[in-house]
């Protein structure tokens, strides 16, 4: 199996579907000649032509709305937001039109919106956000947050194949940092099925996206304490794998919910509440949340570092839980 970066795996997944299915096309700002701001679609326009790799005007509403119309006409559109933050400009098209069309009018809208998200390199308030919780709250939308190259490919193919609007959050901090073996052939990873990233017995971390690796580093430090940490990578926050979360909670009886998005009303709150409702009797400690504080994402490195949950924060949280 070839080793691919997370970014190459996304390209590979998209290319695989575009080669297999003529209905799939990509539209976004600078996705054509330039190959996308992060080069996910580098070389795509040469291979697929400018009517399947479409450089759009700077108009996110038109991009997502056009995807909706094309999808209803039988295409399988993929939109690229240059940054996840810019999806705010297309909120109405996603939330008002695409998300509700199946329920109220019986018309499925099979679109995929790719959202380069996450912070860690001084992108500031408008190039660093993780808005998955906002969309997970909207009935009719699905939210995918891959952490590994293998999942990045398989989940993207599943997203394109899915008959619903799917938001695919690709974490920018994983693009070139994370590399792993990825099968060459086409495969899918089901939406709504979590992955045990690391098995453990004493405490569970429920997380997704780039925080999987923060949790991993923290778990290694806990090994030195003699505590074994289980990491459950949710992979998709909507639908989310409630059964796997409850199973892990029952197994270790102590749970840390970790995400890079801000804390209040973040998706971790939903997970913590569900564990409280359905696994209360199995817990040996209160469910703990670690998330970004309730502020915009700051620009300056020390501020941003203080904003994004760090390995030390997770280590401290895990130690508290172990000692409880």
């Amino acid at each position: 199996m070839p080793e691919l970066t997370y970014l190459q795996a996304i390209s590979d997944g998209l290319r695989t579907e575009m080669r297999r299915d003529k209905r799939v096309f990509i539209i976004g700002e600078d996705v054509g000649v330039y190959g996308g701001a992060f080069k996910v679609t580098l070389g795509f326009q040469e291979e697929f032509g400018h009517w399947r790799v479409i450089d759009a005007p700077l108009a996110e509403t038109a991009i997502v709305g056009a995807c909706t119309g094309a999808a209803i006409m039988g295409m399988r559109p993929v939109a690229e937001m240059q940054f996840a933050d810019f999806i705010s400009c297309a909120w109405d098209q996603l939330v008002t039109v695409a998300a509700k069309q199946r329920y109220r009018a019986g018309t499925p809208v099979p679109i995929t919106v790719r959202l380069p998200s996450g912070g860690g390199f001084s992108g500031g308030p408008f190039h660093s956000q993780n808005p998955e919780s906002s969309f997970a709250h909207i009935p009719g939308l699905k939210c995918v947050c891959p952490a590994t190259p293998e999942d990045a490919k398989g989940l993207l193919i599943s997203a394109i194949e899915d008959p619903n609007p799917v938001l695919y959050f690709e974490h920018k901090h994983l693009y070139r940092r994370i590399k792993a073996e990825v099968p060459e052939e086409r495969y899918t990873v089901p939406l709504g099925k979590a992955r045990v990233h690391r098995e453990g017995d004493d405490v569970s971390v429920i997380t997704w996206g780039a925080m999987v690796y923060t949790a991993e580093e923290a778990a290694q430090q806990l090994d030195g304490d003699g505590a074994s940490v289980e990491i459950l990578d949710l992979r998709t926050v909507m639908p989310w794998d409630k059964a796997a979360v409850l199973e892990s909670a029952r197994k270790t009886s102590k749970v840390l919910v970790l995400h890079e998005d801000t804390r209040t009303g973040g998706f971790g709150a939903e997970i913590a509440a569900t564990i409280g409702e359905e696994a209360f009797e199995d817990l040996d400690a209160p469910v703990k949340r670690i998330a970004a504080p309730d502020t915009p994402v700051p620009f300056s490195p020390p501020l941003e570092k203080a904003f994004i949950p760090q390995v030390d924060d997770v280590v401290a949280g895990l130690r508290e839980l172990v000692a409880y």
């Binding site: 038109a62 056009a66 098209q93 099979p110």
Partner: protein, 348 residues
Amino acid sequence: MAIAREAEPVGSLREVREAGLDREDLLGVYRNLLLTRGIEERGHILYRQGKIPGSFYTGRGNEGASVGVATAMGADDVGTPLHRDMGVHVVRGIEPWRIFAQYMGRADGPTKGKDGNVHMADSNLGLIAMVSHLPAMLPVAVGCALAFRIRDEKRVAVGWFGEGASARGDCHEAMTLAGVRKLPVVFVCDNNQWAYSTPSHLEFATEHVADRADAYGFEGIVVDGTDLLAVYREARRAIEKARAGGGPTLIESVTLRMEGHAVHDDAFYVPKEMFEKWAENDPLERFRTWLRQNADMSDEEEEEISGEVKKILNDALKRAEESPLPDISSLRDGVYATPEDLDTPHHK
């Protein structure tokens, strides 16, 4: 200063024939026009009887324009009609009883009670259901046109919006994308001069909405929306131009909204003289007079058509009232689509 072309009224039967409609077609158009008005008039009665939950909207004054544009569309063309465009649903062939069922929130309405009033469409008829956020359907219409262009199909999408909706960014973005890619889409602005209580001069600063088309790189046309045949002729030209690869057109059809924004609104803010003036140009009466003067529509033909329409409406009301209210077990159905849902004429 106006930039858009101002369309001439339609004169003779010969001119209409050249535009693609023969006498038989015209009588069919008259039937559709009567049916359009009849559905909304009967809907109004249902509302007063307390049978329609929520509010009730009509397109009084816009029936000719909506029928005119829809008559110009081809069978494989698609559209995103709005709440003043009942004529589009009628021309495309929706069964009127399903509209009444929709109004009353019954299980047999196109949305099965999940949505109300004119927030509906039968996708098998090439129509996509509108949302309240006007003009959010314009980018969707552009997307349909994009699909046709990618697949090199000779099909056209028609997107409707109002002069009030022209103020929103969706309108600008949709026209920008359609213009730069020369997509096969026709934008139809139902300019009924009032966005709820706000008059046109507080919605846009140009003389016409259609003047903007020039800035997007395509043609703008202003047409009298009470002249069904003129609307038809301009829509037909624009649709065929788009089909031939000539890109988008913006048609502004000027009417007056002859009722309030919705049934609760008595439109006190519209000057009385304005209503009186536009009432002289009622689109239905205007077309009926034209048919009698130019196509020799006889008393017998007129009675036959109005009798047929009356029967359709009576039967439709009866059938709709027999339709059950939705079972609450359907509340959670269909939030997410299944792969089987994609088995439609369009999604294949």
